[in-house]
Subunit: 232 residues, 2 copies
């Protein structure tokens, strides 16, 4: 028991031994309070008190309040993967797979919309380890990109050979765009985000299909070159 194979954070948390239990207690308490009261309204003192530990103890396990958000990310990513599984098993058309996985992501996040939105404030800061582009989130990010890789590999779609290796990351980027929209989406139940997915997926689907056309080959290459240049 208490085997922790994960390489969760590099920030000097060996966390092999006794305190693992405390760590989980604090994390779960924080998640609960975030959901109940929202992020800003949940104080570190409240988390500590509800968990029955001292404030400083929370900081022993989590470098900052923001790091607790990262925990939420990781959990969401795992839940997203699980929610996408049935879709990946059922569908084989590229469009249906992509739409299904995108919807699954929003499904997972929806219960947390009210407070998750404020997270993205921190996530948008480039210097923050919470940025989806940061080295610290490279674990969850790679897992997410891999998920979109499965969208592609399991599908019947024929994709331009040059585009194919780039596509999973591009789809993940599109997913980030969907989330950005979702965060700002004030429509009841975030129905507009659903419309965005349903509207954008056919376009992406068509675009991916067109990428193989001889006439569009130069454009495809031009776009891919640009993207390769811009990647960090």
């Amino acid at each position: 028991m208490t085997e922790q194979p994960a390489q969760t954070t590099t920030a000097g948390d060996p966390a092999t031994a006794r305190g693992e239990q405390t760590r989980q207690l604090i994390r779960d308490t924080a998640m609960r309070l975030f959901r109940e009261r929202g992020y800003a309204q949940t104080t570190m003192r409240a988390i500590a008190q509800e968990a029955g530990v001292a404030v400083g103890n929370a900081y022993y396990y989590f470098g900052s309040k923001d790091h607790l958000i990262q925990e939420f990310y990781a959990q969401s990513q795992v839940a997203h993967r699980a929610a996408a599984q049935p879709v990946l098993e059922r569908e084989d058309a590229f469009g249906a797979r992509l739409a299904g996985v995108l919807h699954a992501g929003i499904d997972v996040l929806t219960p947390s919309h009210a407070f998750a939105a404020t997270f993205f404030k921190t996530a948008a800061e480039p210097t923050s380890p919470l940025s989806p582009f940061s080295a610290e989130s490279s674990g969850p990010r790679q897992a997410a990109i891999e998920l979109f890789g499965e969208v592609l590999t399991g599908s019947t779609a024929k994709v331009d050979a040059e585009l194919r290796p780039q596509l999973p990351e591009l789809l993940w980027l599109a997913y980030m765009g969907v989330i950005l929209y979702w965060v700002h989406d004030r429509s009841p139940g975030q129905t507009k985000t659903r419309q965005l997915i349903d509207g954008a997926v056919p376009l992406i689907d068509r675009l991916v299909g067109l990428s193989r056309l001889r006439v569009l080959r130069p454009v495809t290459r031009q776009v891919l070159d640009l993207i390769r240049t811009l990647r960090h």
Copy 2:
């Protein structure tokens, strides 16, 4: 004495109440300190002290530290407009005008890259009045969209009639995307952002041109319908 009745504009000062002077002093001090030390490292106490006023006085003029960012935002927008002027007078090709205006925007922001990046964290929060999509920033936003309207109206480009009214806002959205990239751009002098502009503008240019083609008309309409649906 010799005060004009009031409210006439811009002769010497905005002529409103006595504290206008203090307001500007605080604002300018804050901008200077932001540039010198960065946003997080500049405390409200430091701003007040350097400006020679009490802390509470700063809060009389600016509702929060974040509101000082909005001041920066407004100043940048005005500077962007001014920097774009020569381009708008010189160029008449759509691509050249768009590239020029985008570069002008980055030109204006470049000296503040180090600290401007961190304030986008606040801007990304949907609930924040600083969000570029918020009602509170609708003034600067409208001005910015208007700027991209001028990019279009002054150009020789022929644009699909249905696309034309939407295009300024779409170009502004693209500009927001450029800024998002710029914020995360760690390349020296943010040269990659320049490459992004130079690479993306021809694509946008071509896309806008293609929008009039009969074959692509359905796609154009489909995209525009989606956008209209998604607008808040």
